[in-house]
């Protein structure tokens, strides 16, 4: 049998239903691939083979009886930010230690209820704070892509993006059919872009945040990273739901996104925001942006120049809002109720020791910034000001929607960088999210689709931004780009 791990999620689904292979065979193929690749890539922080094979066995029984559910027997990876009932969940932070939640995230439960199989927990930046997966307490994830320099494959380890770097690397390296991920400032779309995968951050409220370890609650959203636009469409439909356990989740029907992708972009109005032409953007990012415009135009879309004047303020405003909310959310890690405890002289000393030992450097830095901007006398100058700027960013988009249906931009200013290249400079790292963060600030949906390869032979992505709750249009336009650009599987499995 050919390598089952190379199938798309849609093809694996069809193969299972046609009884070309069993869910157990499919799952075992992925478990074998993980065992072989993980020492090199570090994508999984906790493979769960027994759990996966038990789920696969149950799926085979249903497939045999003809009672298969929509995702029956399809093996997925689960970012370690999603709580898993009885299975260690750490947010890749030492402070959660050996935490085993007595409950399952709603997004995870939705996937398992639809029949999906969980292969294990995926690496990520600590508490999802990072753009390179270098802040994980389990060590960095290695991008399965390598640069080509002077015609030869370069050995430098590239980052897989972040924070969902385990998710993007696992999908690109065929270590799962698709993966859960989360996006607070770009953590689904940026990793997807630098690994040649598809990632969508849905509208804020589309997926329940219940049971997802909180970073910045007004920005956090779950979504999938997958091999194709179709696969992402299939996954999102089964992740999204209205949930009474999350008061910000919306009570709206979830469309059949897979049925949308074939509808095309005829007469779709595509906006090109001039403010995204920033200093420091690579020539290649611009070239693929122009190609994206040409592809959509050739498929019947119309192109319109638009202005989103507050774009440049999104990133600084984000670096007030996100740390402020994170300092508040992370106050719960006190060494009393769960996770790590480092004893001290008294209770306060115990708190201080525990949090100093449990949080990594970037998390401590953000908690400190957040504590500062929320401290007495500074709330109005920082947090309130940033939330007002956020209103203006959202208003820019509200005005643009009178003229266009979707906005096209690059996903990142440049392709994947090497480990250590930006980790010493927080501001350089923050700039990774310059094109993605506005979408979180405005609460909009955004998808990243592979556009092509850089001169170094590494992937680059295009981002489509949509109206609130109009993920369907993103899938339609994303499919047109995928059809034109092609797919970008990793050329050499150097780790196997």
């Amino acid at each position: 049998m050919s390598d089952l791990t190379k199938l798309t999620l849609a093809d694996a689904r069809d193969g299972l239903r046609a009884k070309q292979f069993s869910a157990t065979e499919l799952t075992q193929a992925f478990l074998d691939a993980i065992a072989k690749a993980n020492p090199a890539l570090n994508a999984y922080v906790l493979p769960t083979p027994e759990h996966a094979l038990a789920q696969a066995k149950a799926s085979d029984a249903r497939l045999a009886k003809g009672t298969a559910r929509p995702l029956e027997g399809l093996p997925l990876g689960n970012k370690d930010l999603f709580c898993t009932n009885g299975i260690r969940t750490t947010a890749c932070s030492k402070i959660l230690d050996d935490f085993k939640p007595p409950y399952e995230s709603t997004v995870g439960q939705n996937l398992w209820d639809a029949g999906a199989v969980m292969l294990g927990k995926l690496n990520c930046d600590e508490f999802a704070m990072g753009s390179s997966n270098e802040t994980s307490c389990f060590g960095p994830v290695v991008n399965p892509w390598r640069r080509t320099r002077a015609g030869r494959l370069d050995n430098a380890k590239l980052v897989p993006g972040g924070s969902s770097g385990g998710s993007s690397a696992a999908v690109a390296a065929n270590l799962c059919l698709g993966a859960t991920a989360t996006d607070t400032g770009g953590s689904i779309r940026q990793p997807a872009a630098v690994t040649g995968t598809v990632g969508i951050k849905p509208t804020y409220g589309r997926c329940s945040r219940w049971g997802v370890v909180a970073f910045a609650s007004s920005l956090d959203q779950a979504g999938p990273i997958a091999k194709t636009v179709r696969d992402a469409a299939i996954m999102l439909r089964h992740m999204a739901s209205h949930d009474s356990k999350d008061s910000t989740s919306v009570d709206m029907p979830v469309p059949d996104y897979e049925a949308e992708i074939k509808k095309g972009v005829k007469a779709l109005r595509v906006g090109i925001p001039k403010e995204y032409r920033v200093d420091g953007m690579s020539k290649e990012a611009d070239e693929y942006w122009q190609k994206g415009i040409a592809w959509l135009k050739a498929s019947g879309a119309t192109i319109h120049d638009i202005s989103l004047p507050h774009t440049k303020y999104a990133l600084p405003a984000y670096y007030i809002v996100a740390p402020a909310e994170c300092s508040s959310n992370l106050a719960r890690y006190d060494g009393v109720r769960y996770g790590l405890r480092v004893p001290g002289r008294d209770l306060i000393d115990t708190y201080e020791n525990t949090r100093a030992a449990g949080f990594g450097r970037e998390v401590r830095r953000r908690v400190m910034i957040g504590t500062y901007v929320l401290s007495a006398g500074y709330y109005d100058a920082y947090y309130l000001k940033a939330q007002k700027v956020r209103t203006l960013i959202k208003r820019d988009f509200d005005l643009a929607w009178d003229k266009v249906d979707v906005v096209l931009t690059p996903t990142t200013p440049s392709p994947a960088f090497a480990q250590g290249e930006k980790s010493g400079d927080p501001l350089a790292m923050y700039l990774e999210d310059i094109f993605t963060v506005t979408v979180n600030m405005a609460g909009l949906p955004g998808i990243s689709v592979p556009a092509g390869l850089s001169s170094e032979g590494t992937p680059m992505g295009l981002q489509l931004i949509g109206k609130p709750f109009d993920e369907a249009t993103l899938f339609r336009a994303g499919q047109v780009i995928e059809d034109a650009a092609g797919r970008f599987p990793v050329p050499q499995m150097w780790w196997a």
Binding site: D97, D98, K100, P101, P102, T203, Y204, G205, S244, S247, T248, V250, K312, Y313, P316, Y319, I320, S327, D334, G335, V336, R337, Y338, G339, L340, R341, P343, D346, L347, D349, T350, E352, N353, R355, A356, F359, R364, R365, V367, M368, I369, T371, Y372, Y378, Y382, L384, K385, A386, Q387, K388, V389, T391, L392, K394, P426, L427, A442, G443, L444, P468
Partner: protein, 96 residues
């Protein structure tokens, strides 16, 4: 905006309940000052009369009946505690 000095860093670390060494405090002066100087570009934006954003989609906050929906799960609540006795969290003595 305000100046970040070592005393401020120590005060913020105390508020955040994170113990820092004197060397870390010195390093954080530069890091936090750099980030706060960079976010100060927001001062250019005129936000006169602009409401702060509180939600993405215009929807009323959901309500439900004020009734008990779960409970009787002391074991599940305390099962991950680093130190516990009979479903109680054990902490260092706080009252002399």
């Amino acid at each position: 905006m305000a100046v970040i000095d070592e005393a401020t860093v120590k005060r913020v670390a105390r508020l955040a309940r994170i113990k820092i060494t004197p060397e870390e405090a010195k390093g954080l002066v530069g890091e936090l000052s750099g980030i706060l100087a960079w976010v100060a570009q927001l001062d250019e934006v005129n936000t006169e009369g602009v409401e702060p954003m509180t939600r993405v989609a215009a929807m009323a906050l959901k309500k439900r009946q004020d009734v008990v929906t779960d409970g009787e799960m002391a074991e599940a609540v305390t099962m991950n505690a680093p130190e516990k006795t009979d479903h109680f969290f054990v902490v260092p003595k706080v009252v002399e």
